[in-house]
Symmetry: C2
Protein backbone atom coordinates (compact mmCIF):
# COMPACT_ATOMS: atom_id res chain seq x y z
CA UNK A 1 0.00 0.00 0.00
CA UNK A 2 2.65 2.39 -1.15
CA UNK A 3 0.40 5.45 -1.62
CA UNK A 4 -1.26 5.05 1.74
CA UNK A 5 2.09 5.31 3.44
CA UNK A 6 3.02 8.70 2.03
CA UNK A 7 1.88 10.45 5.21
CA UNK A 8 2.05 9.36 8.83
CA UNK A 9 -1.07 7.23 9.30
CA UNK A 10 -4.19 8.06 11.23
CA UNK A 11 -5.35 4.55 12.06
CA UNK A 12 -8.56 4.10 10.11
CA UNK A 13 -8.27 7.41 8.23
CA UNK A 14 -7.22 8.03 4.64
CA UNK A 15 -5.14 11.05 3.56
CA UNK A 16 -5.66 12.41 0.04
CA UNK A 17 -2.32 14.06 -0.66
CA UNK A 18 -2.96 15.59 -4.08
CA UNK A 19 -1.19 18.84 -3.20
CA UNK A 20 2.05 19.43 -1.30
CA UNK A 21 1.77 20.86 2.20
CA UNK A 22 -1.89 19.99 2.72
CA UNK A 23 -4.19 17.00 2.61
CA UNK A 24 -7.86 16.13 2.89
CA UNK A 25 -8.39 13.23 5.27
CA UNK A 26 -11.40 10.92 5.55
CA UNK A 27 -12.47 8.46 8.21
CA UNK A 28 -12.81 5.10 6.45
CA UNK A 29 -15.94 3.47 7.85
CA UNK A 30 -15.32 0.30 5.84
CA UNK A 31 -12.81 -0.66 3.15
CA UNK A 32 -14.80 -2.16 0.27
CA UNK A 33 -12.05 -2.87 -2.24
CA UNK A 34 -8.30 -2.65 -2.40
CA UNK A 35 -6.62 -4.10 -5.48
CA UNK A 36 -3.76 -3.66 -7.86
CA UNK A 37 -3.84 -4.10 -11.63
CA UNK A 38 -0.83 -3.85 -13.93
CA UNK A 39 -1.71 -0.15 -14.32
CA UNK A 40 -2.67 1.12 -10.87
CA UNK A 41 -3.63 0.58 -7.24
CA UNK A 42 -7.30 1.19 -6.52
CA UNK A 43 -8.91 1.74 -3.12
CA UNK A 44 -12.67 2.02 -2.47
CA UNK A 45 -14.04 2.79 0.98
CA UNK A 46 -17.24 3.90 2.67
CA UNK A 47 -17.48 7.22 4.54
CA UNK A 48 -20.21 8.76 6.66
CA UNK A 49 -20.32 12.07 4.81
CA UNK A 50 -19.33 11.43 1.21
CA UNK A 51 -20.71 7.93 0.60
CA UNK A 52 -18.31 5.62 -1.20
CA UNK A 53 -14.99 7.08 -2.32
CA UNK A 54 -12.76 5.73 -5.13
CA UNK A 55 -9.01 6.47 -4.96
CA UNK A 56 -6.71 5.29 -7.75
CA UNK A 57 -2.97 5.64 -6.99
CA UNK A 58 -3.50 7.92 -4.01
CA UNK A 59 -5.44 10.68 -5.79
CA UNK A 60 -9.15 10.99 -5.09
CA UNK A 61 -11.19 10.31 -8.23
CA UNK A 62 -14.75 10.63 -7.03
CA UNK A 63 -17.11 10.45 -4.10
CA UNK A 64 -20.60 9.08 -4.48
CA UNK A 65 -22.20 12.23 -3.09
CA UNK A 66 -20.73 14.83 -5.43
CA UNK A 67 -19.56 12.97 -8.54
CA UNK A 68 -22.55 14.34 -10.44
CA UNK A 69 -21.27 17.92 -10.48
CA UNK A 70 -18.01 16.93 -12.11
CA UNK A 71 -19.40 14.39 -14.55
CA UNK A 72 -22.39 16.40 -15.70
CA UNK A 73 -20.29 19.48 -16.39
CA UNK A 74 -17.63 17.50 -18.24
CA UNK A 75 -20.21 16.19 -20.68
CA UNK A 76 -22.90 18.82 -21.06
CA UNK A 77 -20.58 21.84 -21.37
CA UNK A 78 -19.42 20.15 -24.59
CA UNK A 79 -22.51 18.38 -25.91
CA UNK A 80 -24.87 21.29 -25.34
CA UNK A 81 -22.56 23.70 -27.18
CA UNK A 82 -22.61 22.33 -30.74
CA UNK A 83 -25.52 21.46 -33.00
CA UNK A 84 -26.48 17.82 -33.20
CA UNK A 85 -23.40 16.03 -31.73
CA UNK A 86 -23.35 12.44 -32.99
CA UNK A 87 -20.06 10.73 -32.22
CA UNK A 88 -18.17 10.85 -28.92
CA UNK A 89 -14.67 9.51 -28.26
CA UNK A 90 -12.48 8.76 -25.24
CA UNK A 91 -14.04 9.33 -21.81
CA UNK A 92 -15.66 7.77 -18.78
CA UNK A 93 -18.76 9.81 -18.28
CA UNK A 94 -21.11 7.51 -20.08
CA UNK A 95 -24.17 8.02 -17.94
CA UNK A 96 -24.22 11.71 -18.82
CA UNK A 97 -23.60 11.24 -22.55
CA UNK A 98 -26.58 8.90 -22.48
CA UNK A 99 -28.93 11.87 -21.92
CA UNK A 100 -28.13 13.19 -25.41
CA UNK A 101 -30.45 11.51 -27.88
CA UNK A 102 -28.72 13.07 -30.91
CA UNK A 103 -25.66 10.92 -30.19
CA UNK A 104 -25.51 7.82 -32.43
CA UNK A 105 -22.17 6.26 -31.51
CA UNK A 106 -20.00 6.43 -28.37
CA UNK A 107 -16.46 5.01 -28.15
CA UNK A 108 -15.03 4.66 -24.66
CA UNK A 109 -11.37 3.82 -24.29
CA UNK A 110 -10.16 2.58 -20.88
CA UNK A 111 -6.80 0.95 -20.38
CA UNK A 112 -7.67 -0.89 -17.16
CA UNK A 113 -10.41 -3.55 -17.00
CA UNK A 114 -10.20 -3.61 -13.20
CA UNK A 115 -11.62 -0.09 -13.04
CA UNK A 116 -14.71 -1.05 -15.02
CA UNK A 117 -15.32 -4.14 -12.88
CA UNK A 118 -14.95 -2.22 -9.63
CA UNK A 119 -17.29 0.57 -10.76
CA UNK A 120 -19.94 -1.89 -11.94
CA UNK A 121 -19.81 -3.66 -8.57
CA UNK A 122 -19.54 -0.74 -6.12
CA UNK A 123 -20.95 2.23 -8.04
CA UNK A 124 -23.80 0.74 -10.10
CA UNK A 125 -25.58 4.09 -10.50
CA UNK A 126 -22.45 5.59 -12.05
CA UNK A 127 -21.52 2.56 -14.18
CA UNK A 128 -25.08 2.39 -15.55
CA UNK A 129 -23.74 4.21 -18.63
CA UNK A 130 -22.06 1.03 -19.85
CA UNK A 131 -25.55 -0.33 -20.55
CA UNK A 132 -26.29 2.24 -23.25
CA UNK A 133 -26.64 0.34 -26.57
CA UNK A 134 -24.73 3.09 -28.42
CA UNK A 135 -21.64 2.38 -26.29
CA UNK A 136 -18.53 0.68 -27.71
CA UNK A 137 -15.89 -0.19 -25.09
CA UNK A 138 -12.21 -0.38 -26.13
CA UNK A 139 -9.79 -1.82 -23.57
CA UNK A 140 -6.52 -0.25 -24.65
CA UNK A 141 -4.23 2.73 -24.23
CA UNK A 142 -5.97 6.03 -25.02
CA UNK A 143 -3.06 7.56 -26.90
CA UNK A 144 -2.69 4.54 -29.21
CA UNK A 145 -6.45 4.52 -29.69
CA UNK A 146 -6.70 8.18 -30.69
CA UNK A 147 -3.80 7.73 -33.12
CA UNK A 148 -5.61 4.83 -34.79
CA UNK A 149 -8.94 6.54 -35.59
CA UNK A 150 -9.60 8.13 -39.01
CA UNK A 151 -9.15 11.90 -39.36
CA UNK A 152 -12.29 13.90 -38.59
CA UNK A 153 -13.99 10.88 -37.02
CA UNK A 154 -15.54 12.59 -34.00
CA UNK A 155 -17.88 15.46 -33.18
CA UNK A 156 -16.79 15.49 -29.55
CA UNK A 157 -13.87 14.07 -27.56
CA UNK A 158 -13.91 14.11 -23.74
CA UNK A 159 -10.61 13.49 -21.95
CA UNK A 160 -11.21 12.21 -18.45
CA UNK A 161 -7.70 11.85 -17.03
CA UNK A 162 -5.93 13.94 -14.45
CA UNK A 163 -2.70 15.57 -15.56
CA UNK A 164 -1.38 15.13 -12.03
CA UNK A 165 -1.76 11.37 -12.12
CA UNK A 166 1.46 9.51 -12.77
CA UNK A 167 2.34 8.61 -16.32
CA UNK A 168 -0.65 10.32 -17.92
CA UNK A 169 0.76 13.68 -16.81
CA UNK A 170 3.30 14.01 -19.59
CA UNK A 171 0.89 12.77 -22.20
CA UNK A 172 -1.77 15.36 -21.46
CA UNK A 173 0.70 18.22 -21.33
CA UNK A 174 2.12 17.05 -24.65
CA UNK A 175 1.33 19.09 -27.74
CA UNK A 176 1.65 16.02 -29.98
CA UNK A 177 -1.19 14.29 -28.15
CA UNK A 178 -3.41 17.36 -28.47
CA UNK A 179 -2.57 17.46 -32.18
CA UNK A 180 -3.68 13.84 -32.54
CA UNK A 181 -6.96 14.76 -30.89
CA UNK A 182 -7.44 17.80 -33.10
CA UNK A 183 -6.95 15.53 -36.15
CA UNK A 184 -9.51 13.04 -34.87
CA UNK A 185 -12.13 15.80 -34.63
CA UNK A 186 -14.25 17.02 -37.56
CA UNK A 187 -14.09 20.75 -38.40
CA UNK A 188 -15.79 22.64 -35.53
CA UNK A 189 -15.45 19.49 -33.41
CA UNK A 190 -15.00 19.92 -29.68
CA UNK A 191 -12.50 18.71 -27.06
CA UNK A 192 -13.32 19.03 -23.37
CA UNK A 193 -11.01 18.05 -20.50
CA UNK A 194 -10.37 19.05 -16.95
CA UNK A 195 -7.40 20.83 -15.54
CA UNK A 196 -6.54 21.80 -12.00
CA UNK A 197 -3.30 23.69 -12.27
CA UNK A 198 -0.67 24.85 -14.75
CA UNK A 199 -3.47 26.61 -16.62
CA UNK A 200 -1.01 28.89 -18.39
CA UNK A 201 0.89 25.94 -19.91
CA UNK A 202 -2.34 24.27 -20.86
CA UNK A 203 -3.66 27.33 -22.64
CA UNK A 204 -0.38 27.72 -24.51
CA UNK A 205 -0.66 24.11 -25.73
CA UNK A 206 -4.28 24.63 -26.75
CA UNK A 207 -3.23 27.16 -29.38
CA UNK A 208 -3.20 24.32 -31.89
CA UNK A 209 -7.00 24.48 -31.75
CA UNK A 210 -7.89 27.06 -34.36
CA UNK A 211 -11.49 27.61 -33.20
CA UNK A 212 -12.48 28.68 -29.67
CA UNK A 213 -10.53 28.08 -26.46
CA UNK A 214 -12.34 28.69 -23.17
CA UNK A 215 -11.99 27.97 -19.47
CA UNK A 216 -14.91 27.11 -17.19
CA UNK A 217 -15.21 25.70 -13.68
CA UNK A 218 -17.49 23.89 -11.27
CA UNK A 219 -17.50 23.19 -7.55
CA UNK A 220 -16.79 19.65 -6.34
CA UNK A 221 -16.55 19.79 -2.53
CA UNK A 222 -14.57 16.55 -2.15
CA UNK A 223 -11.56 17.87 -4.06
CA UNK A 224 -9.03 19.63 -1.88
CA UNK A 225 -9.70 23.02 -3.45
CA UNK A 226 -13.42 22.37 -3.78
CA UNK A 227 -13.25 23.40 -7.42
CA UNK A 228 -12.25 21.98 -10.79
CA UNK A 229 -11.45 23.71 -14.08
CA UNK A 230 -12.36 22.67 -17.61
CA UNK A 231 -10.72 23.51 -20.93
CA UNK A 232 -13.02 23.73 -23.92
CA UNK A 233 -11.45 23.77 -27.39
CA UNK A 234 -12.87 23.64 -30.89
CA UNK A 235 -11.24 23.07 -34.27
CA UNK A 236 -11.31 25.48 -37.20
CA UNK A 237 -14.58 26.80 -38.63
CA UNK A 238 -17.04 29.36 -37.27
CA UNK A 239 -16.21 29.75 -33.56
CA UNK A 240 -18.20 27.62 -31.13
CA UNK A 241 -19.83 29.93 -28.59
CA UNK A 242 -19.35 27.71 -25.55
CA UNK A 243 -20.71 30.34 -23.19
CA UNK A 244 -24.19 30.23 -24.67
CA UNK A 245 -25.43 26.65 -24.92
CA UNK A 246 -27.59 26.01 -27.99
CA UNK A 247 -28.98 22.63 -26.85
CA UNK A 248 -31.12 22.35 -23.74
CA UNK A 249 -31.28 18.97 -22.05
CA UNK A 250 -34.65 17.31 -22.48
CA UNK A 251 -35.83 16.45 -18.93
CA UNK A 252 -37.80 13.49 -20.28
CA UNK A 253 -34.88 11.90 -22.13
CA UNK A 254 -32.29 10.61 -19.69
CA UNK A 255 -31.03 7.58 -21.63
CA UNK A 256 -29.94 4.94 -19.14
CA UNK A 257 -29.48 7.52 -16.35
CA UNK A 258 -31.99 7.19 -13.52
CA UNK A 259 -33.51 10.64 -13.27
CA UNK A 260 -32.49 14.12 -14.41
CA UNK A 261 -29.13 15.86 -13.81
CA UNK A 262 -28.50 17.12 -10.28
CA UNK A 263 -26.11 19.98 -11.02
CA UNK A 264 -26.14 20.98 -14.68
CA UNK A 265 -28.69 23.27 -16.27
CA UNK A 266 -28.43 25.96 -18.96
CA UNK A 267 -27.94 28.75 -16.41
CA UNK A 268 -25.10 26.89 -14.68
CA UNK A 269 -23.59 26.30 -18.12
CA UNK A 270 -23.45 30.02 -18.86
CA UNK A 271 -22.24 31.09 -15.42
CA UNK A 272 -19.44 28.47 -15.36
CA UNK A 273 -17.39 30.81 -17.55
CA UNK A 274 -17.40 33.63 -15.01
CA UNK A 275 -14.43 33.37 -12.74
CA UNK A 276 -13.46 35.59 -9.84
CA UNK A 277 -10.79 37.96 -11.14
CA UNK A 278 -8.36 36.80 -8.46
CA UNK A 279 -8.55 33.20 -9.59
CA UNK A 280 -8.08 34.28 -13.21
CA UNK A 281 -4.94 36.15 -12.31
CA UNK A 282 -3.64 33.29 -10.16
CA UNK A 283 -4.24 30.89 -12.99
CA UNK A 284 -2.69 33.15 -15.62
CA UNK A 285 -5.73 32.79 -17.83
CA UNK A 286 -5.18 36.32 -19.06
CA UNK A 287 -1.92 35.40 -20.74
CA UNK B 1 -3.96 23.24 23.23
CA UNK B 2 -7.29 21.51 23.65
CA UNK B 3 -8.52 21.94 20.07
CA UNK B 4 -5.30 20.69 18.54
CA UNK B 5 -5.67 17.43 20.37
CA UNK B 6 -9.05 16.53 18.95
CA UNK B 7 -7.43 14.27 16.32
CA UNK B 8 -4.34 12.10 16.52
CA UNK B 9 -1.46 14.46 15.79
CA UNK B 10 0.71 14.60 12.68
CA UNK B 11 3.85 16.13 14.18
CA UNK B 12 4.12 19.57 12.61
CA UNK B 13 0.74 19.38 10.83
CA UNK B 14 -2.53 21.03 11.78
CA UNK B 15 -5.92 19.33 11.33
CA UNK B 16 -8.96 21.53 10.65
CA UNK B 17 -11.80 19.39 11.96
CA UNK B 18 -14.79 21.53 11.07
CA UNK B 19 -16.84 18.58 9.84
CA UNK B 20 -17.25 15.09 11.32
CA UNK B 21 -15.56 12.23 9.48
CA UNK B 22 -13.16 14.38 7.46
CA UNK B 23 -10.51 17.04 7.97
CA UNK B 24 -8.27 19.36 6.02
CA UNK B 25 -4.68 19.18 7.24
CA UNK B 26 -1.86 21.69 6.72
CA UNK B 27 1.85 21.43 7.19
CA UNK B 28 2.79 24.23 9.62
CA UNK B 29 6.01 25.76 8.32
CA UNK B 30 6.22 28.08 11.34
CA UNK B 31 3.91 28.86 14.24
CA UNK B 32 3.65 32.65 14.45
CA UNK B 33 1.18 33.08 17.29
CA UNK B 34 -0.59 30.88 19.77
CA UNK B 35 -2.54 32.60 22.51
CA UNK B 36 -5.63 32.40 24.62
CA UNK B 37 -7.93 35.27 25.56
CA UNK B 38 -10.90 35.01 27.92
CA UNK B 39 -13.01 34.30 24.82
CA UNK B 40 -11.01 31.95 22.61
CA UNK B 41 -7.78 30.20 21.66
CA UNK B 42 -6.12 31.61 18.55
CA UNK B 43 -3.43 29.97 16.42
CA UNK B 44 -1.60 31.63 13.50
CA UNK B 45 0.89 29.70 11.39
CA UNK B 46 2.73 29.97 8.07
CA UNK B 47 2.14 27.47 5.24
CA UNK B 48 3.82 27.00 1.87
CA UNK B 49 0.62 27.00 -0.19
CA UNK B 50 -1.91 29.19 1.64
CA UNK B 51 0.32 31.83 3.23
CA UNK B 52 -0.54 32.60 6.84
CA UNK B 53 -3.55 30.84 8.33
CA UNK B 54 -5.61 32.02 11.34
CA UNK B 55 -7.48 29.41 13.38
CA UNK B 56 -9.65 30.48 16.34
CA UNK B 57 -10.88 27.59 18.54
CA UNK B 58 -9.97 24.88 16.05
CA UNK B 59 -12.03 26.18 13.11
CA UNK B 60 -10.21 27.73 10.17
CA UNK B 61 -11.10 31.42 9.82
CA UNK B 62 -8.99 32.56 6.89
CA UNK B 63 -5.89 31.98 4.84
CA UNK B 64 -3.91 34.86 3.45
CA UNK B 65 -4.17 33.54 -0.12
CA UNK B 66 -7.93 33.27 -0.50
CA UNK B 67 -9.46 35.49 2.17
CA UNK B 68 -10.37 38.03 -0.48
CA UNK B 69 -13.06 35.84 -2.10
CA UNK B 70 -14.93 35.46 1.16
CA UNK B 71 -14.52 39.01 2.42
CA UNK B 72 -15.29 40.77 -0.85
CA UNK B 73 -18.45 38.77 -1.42
CA UNK B 74 -19.65 39.29 2.15
CA UNK B 75 -19.49 43.04 1.73
CA UNK B 76 -20.22 43.83 -1.89
CA UNK B 77 -23.18 41.47 -2.32
CA UNK B 78 -24.86 43.72 0.25
CA UNK B 79 -23.46 47.17 -0.42
CA UNK B 80 -23.83 46.99 -4.20
CA UNK B 81 -27.49 45.96 -3.93
CA UNK B 82 -29.08 49.03 -2.35
CA UNK B 83 -28.94 52.67 -3.35
CA UNK B 84 -26.53 54.84 -1.43
CA UNK B 85 -25.70 52.73 1.65
CA UNK B 86 -24.49 55.03 4.44
CA UNK B 87 -24.29 53.24 7.78
CA UNK B 88 -22.90 49.77 8.41
CA UNK B 89 -23.04 47.82 11.66
CA UNK B 90 -21.43 44.72 13.14
CA UNK B 91 -18.75 42.99 11.01
CA UNK B 92 -15.05 42.43 10.40
CA UNK B 93 -14.66 43.10 6.72
CA UNK B 94 -13.56 46.66 7.04
CA UNK B 95 -11.11 46.77 4.16
CA UNK B 96 -13.89 45.92 1.72
CA UNK B 97 -16.43 48.35 3.17
CA UNK B 98 -13.77 51.00 2.71
CA UNK B 99 -14.18 50.81 -1.09
CA UNK B 100 -17.72 52.24 -0.80
CA UNK B 101 -17.46 56.00 -0.78
CA UNK B 102 -21.19 56.48 -0.12
CA UNK B 103 -20.68 55.04 3.38
CA UNK B 104 -20.46 57.75 6.06
CA UNK B 105 -20.27 55.77 9.30
CA UNK B 106 -19.10 52.24 10.11
CA UNK B 107 -19.55 50.57 13.51
CA UNK B 108 -17.52 47.45 14.10
CA UNK B 109 -18.28 45.37 17.17
CA UNK B 110 -15.70 42.77 18.23
CA UNK B 111 -15.77 41.07 21.62
CA UNK B 112 -12.09 40.08 21.68
CA UNK B 113 -9.27 42.67 21.61
CA UNK B 114 -6.69 39.90 21.08
CA UNK B 115 -8.10 39.23 17.62
CA UNK B 116 -7.61 42.83 16.52
CA UNK B 117 -4.04 42.93 17.85
CA UNK B 118 -3.08 39.66 16.17
CA UNK B 119 -4.57 40.71 12.84
CA UNK B 120 -2.84 44.08 12.91
CA UNK B 121 0.48 42.35 13.61
CA UNK B 122 0.35 39.32 11.32
CA UNK B 123 -2.17 40.29 8.62
CA UNK B 124 -1.55 44.01 8.05
CA UNK B 125 -3.07 44.00 4.54
CA UNK B 126 -6.30 42.64 5.97
CA UNK B 127 -6.35 44.77 9.13
CA UNK B 128 -5.75 47.90 7.03
CA UNK B 129 -9.51 48.52 7.23
CA UNK B 130 -9.15 49.68 10.84
CA UNK B 131 -7.39 52.77 9.50
CA UNK B 132 -10.48 54.05 7.70
CA UNK B 133 -11.49 57.34 9.40
CA UNK B 134 -15.18 56.41 9.14
CA UNK B 135 -14.57 53.39 11.39
CA UNK B 136 -15.82 53.24 15.01
CA UNK B 137 -14.59 50.23 16.97
CA UNK B 138 -16.70 48.84 19.83
CA UNK B 139 -15.10 46.19 22.05
CA UNK B 140 -18.12 44.37 23.40
CA UNK B 141 -20.55 41.52 22.85
CA UNK B 142 -22.34 41.78 19.50
CA UNK B 143 -25.75 40.75 20.81
CA UNK B 144 -25.69 43.36 23.59
CA UNK B 145 -24.47 45.94 21.07
CA UNK B 146 -27.22 45.30 18.56
CA UNK B 147 -29.85 45.47 21.32
CA UNK B 148 -28.51 48.86 22.38
CA UNK B 149 -28.72 50.72 19.06
CA UNK B 150 -31.74 52.85 18.12
CA UNK B 151 -34.41 51.32 15.86
CA UNK B 152 -33.77 51.81 12.15
CA UNK B 153 -30.19 52.95 12.78
CA UNK B 154 -28.49 51.05 9.94
CA UNK B 155 -28.66 50.70 6.16
CA UNK B 156 -26.61 47.52 6.24
CA UNK B 157 -25.59 44.96 8.88
CA UNK B 158 -22.97 42.31 8.11
CA UNK B 159 -22.73 39.36 10.51
CA UNK B 160 -19.31 37.78 10.35
CA UNK B 161 -19.56 34.87 12.77
CA UNK B 162 -19.76 31.17 12.06
CA UNK B 163 -22.82 29.38 13.40
CA UNK B 164 -20.61 26.32 13.97
CA UNK B 165 -18.35 28.18 16.35
CA UNK B 166 -19.02 27.47 19.98
CA UNK B 167 -21.32 29.78 21.83
CA UNK B 168 -22.20 31.96 18.85
CA UNK B 169 -24.00 28.98 17.29
CA UNK B 170 -27.14 29.30 19.36
CA UNK B 171 -27.23 33.05 19.05
CA UNK B 172 -27.16 33.04 15.24
CA UNK B 173 -29.79 30.35 14.96
CA UNK B 174 -31.96 32.30 17.35
CA UNK B 175 -34.98 34.10 15.96
CA UNK B 176 -34.83 36.72 18.73
CA UNK B 177 -31.38 37.82 17.64
CA UNK B 178 -32.51 38.11 14.02
CA UNK B 179 -35.48 40.15 15.24
CA UNK B 180 -33.10 42.53 17.03
CA UNK B 181 -31.15 42.94 13.81
CA UNK B 182 -34.29 43.53 11.77
CA UNK B 183 -35.26 46.28 14.28
CA UNK B 184 -31.83 47.90 13.98
CA UNK B 185 -32.25 48.20 10.19
CA UNK B 186 -34.12 50.98 8.44
CA UNK B 187 -36.97 49.98 6.06
CA UNK B 188 -35.40 48.22 3.06
CA UNK B 189 -32.22 47.81 5.09
CA UNK B 190 -30.08 44.76 4.41
CA UNK B 191 -28.58 41.96 6.52
CA UNK B 192 -25.90 39.72 5.03
CA UNK B 193 -24.27 36.75 6.77
CA UNK B 194 -22.66 33.48 5.88
CA UNK B 195 -23.98 30.03 6.45
CA UNK B 196 -22.45 26.65 5.73
CA UNK B 197 -25.11 24.17 6.75
CA UNK B 198 -28.61 23.88 8.18
CA UNK B 199 -29.79 26.12 5.37
CA UNK B 200 -33.38 24.98 5.80
CA UNK B 201 -33.48 26.12 9.46
CA UNK B 202 -31.77 29.36 8.54
CA UNK B 203 -34.28 30.15 5.82
CA UNK B 204 -37.15 29.37 8.16
CA UNK B 205 -35.75 31.84 10.72
CA UNK B 206 -35.27 34.46 8.02
CA UNK B 207 -39.02 34.67 7.48
CA UNK B 208 -39.08 37.56 9.94
CA UNK B 209 -37.50 39.62 7.15
CA UNK B 210 -40.47 40.95 5.23
CA UNK B 211 -38.53 42.04 2.13
CA UNK B 212 -36.31 39.74 0.06
CA UNK B 213 -34.54 36.59 1.24
CA UNK B 214 -31.88 35.11 -1.07
CA UNK B 215 -29.05 32.61 -1.00
CA UNK B 216 -25.75 33.09 -2.84
CA UNK B 217 -22.38 31.36 -2.71
CA UNK B 218 -18.69 31.77 -3.46
CA UNK B 219 -15.71 29.47 -3.68
CA UNK B 220 -13.06 29.64 -0.93
CA UNK B 221 -10.59 26.78 -1.57
CA UNK B 222 -9.23 26.64 1.98
CA UNK B 223 -12.57 25.67 3.51
CA UNK B 224 -13.17 21.95 3.64
CA UNK B 225 -15.98 22.07 1.09
CA UNK B 226 -14.25 24.75 -0.97
CA UNK B 227 -17.47 26.78 -0.92
CA UNK B 228 -19.37 29.11 1.39
CA UNK B 229 -22.99 30.24 1.35
CA UNK B 230 -24.44 33.66 2.09
CA UNK B 231 -27.91 34.66 3.27
CA UNK B 232 -29.17 38.04 2.07
CA UNK B 233 -32.23 39.49 3.77
CA UNK B 234 -34.00 42.84 3.52
CA UNK B 235 -36.64 44.47 5.66
CA UNK B 236 -40.08 45.62 4.51
CA UNK B 237 -40.52 47.99 1.58
CA UNK B 238 -40.09 47.44 -2.18
CA UNK B 239 -38.08 44.19 -2.57
CA UNK B 240 -34.31 44.56 -2.90
CA UNK B 241 -33.28 42.79 -6.13
CA UNK B 242 -30.03 41.28 -4.80
CA UNK B 243 -29.41 39.37 -8.02
CA UNK B 244 -28.95 42.51 -10.09
CA UNK B 245 -26.48 44.88 -8.39
CA UNK B 246 -27.32 48.53 -8.86
CA UNK B 247 -23.96 49.94 -7.70
CA UNK B 248 -20.77 49.16 -9.58
CA UNK B 249 -17.53 49.44 -7.64
CA UNK B 250 -15.45 52.39 -8.73
CA UNK B 251 -12.00 50.97 -9.61
CA UNK B 252 -10.38 54.25 -8.66
CA UNK B 253 -11.91 54.45 -5.19
CA UNK B 254 -10.53 51.73 -2.94
CA UNK B 255 -10.59 53.58 0.37
CA UNK B 256 -7.75 52.26 2.53
CA UNK B 257 -7.54 48.99 0.51
CA UNK B 258 -4.34 48.65 -1.48
CA UNK B 259 -5.61 47.98 -4.99
CA UNK B 260 -8.88 46.76 -6.52
CA UNK B 261 -10.87 43.67 -5.50
CA UNK B 262 -9.45 40.30 -6.57
CA UNK B 263 -12.65 38.26 -6.76
CA UNK B 264 -15.76 40.43 -6.83
CA UNK B 265 -17.17 42.12 -9.89
CA UNK B 266 -20.73 42.77 -11.10
CA UNK B 267 -20.84 39.57 -13.16
CA UNK B 268 -19.69 37.43 -10.23
CA UNK B 269 -22.33 39.19 -8.12
CA UNK B 270 -25.11 38.12 -10.48
CA UNK B 271 -23.87 34.56 -11.03
CA UNK B 272 -23.42 33.93 -7.28
CA UNK B 273 -27.16 33.31 -7.08
CA UNK B 274 -27.12 30.41 -9.54
CA UNK B 275 -26.61 27.17 -7.71
CA UNK B 276 -26.35 23.64 -9.12
CA UNK B 277 -29.76 22.03 -8.68
CA UNK B 278 -28.22 19.19 -6.69
CA UNK B 279 -26.76 21.55 -4.11
CA UNK B 280 -30.07 23.35 -3.83
CA UNK B 281 -31.86 20.11 -3.13
CA UNK B 282 -29.21 19.01 -0.62
CA UNK B 283 -29.51 22.31 1.16
CA UNK B 284 -33.30 22.33 1.17
CA UNK B 285 -33.36 25.80 -0.29
CA UNK B 286 -36.55 24.90 -2.14
CA UNK B 287 -38.56 24.57 1.07
Amino acid sequence: MEHLKTYPAFPGWYADVSWPGEAHIYKMEKILFHGKSEFQELLVFETSRHGKIAIPDGYIQLTENDEFAYQEMLIHLALCSIPNPKKGGDGGILREISRHSSVEHIDICEIDKMVIHVYKKFFPDIAVGYEDPRMHVHIRDGVAFINSVPEGAYDVIILDAFPAMGHSADVLADKCFLESIAKALRPRGVLLWHTNSEVADTIANCKIFKGSVNYAWATVPAYVSGAIGFMLCSTEGPPVNFKHPINKLNPEKNGVAKGPPKFYNSEIHATAFFCGQGWLIQQDIHK
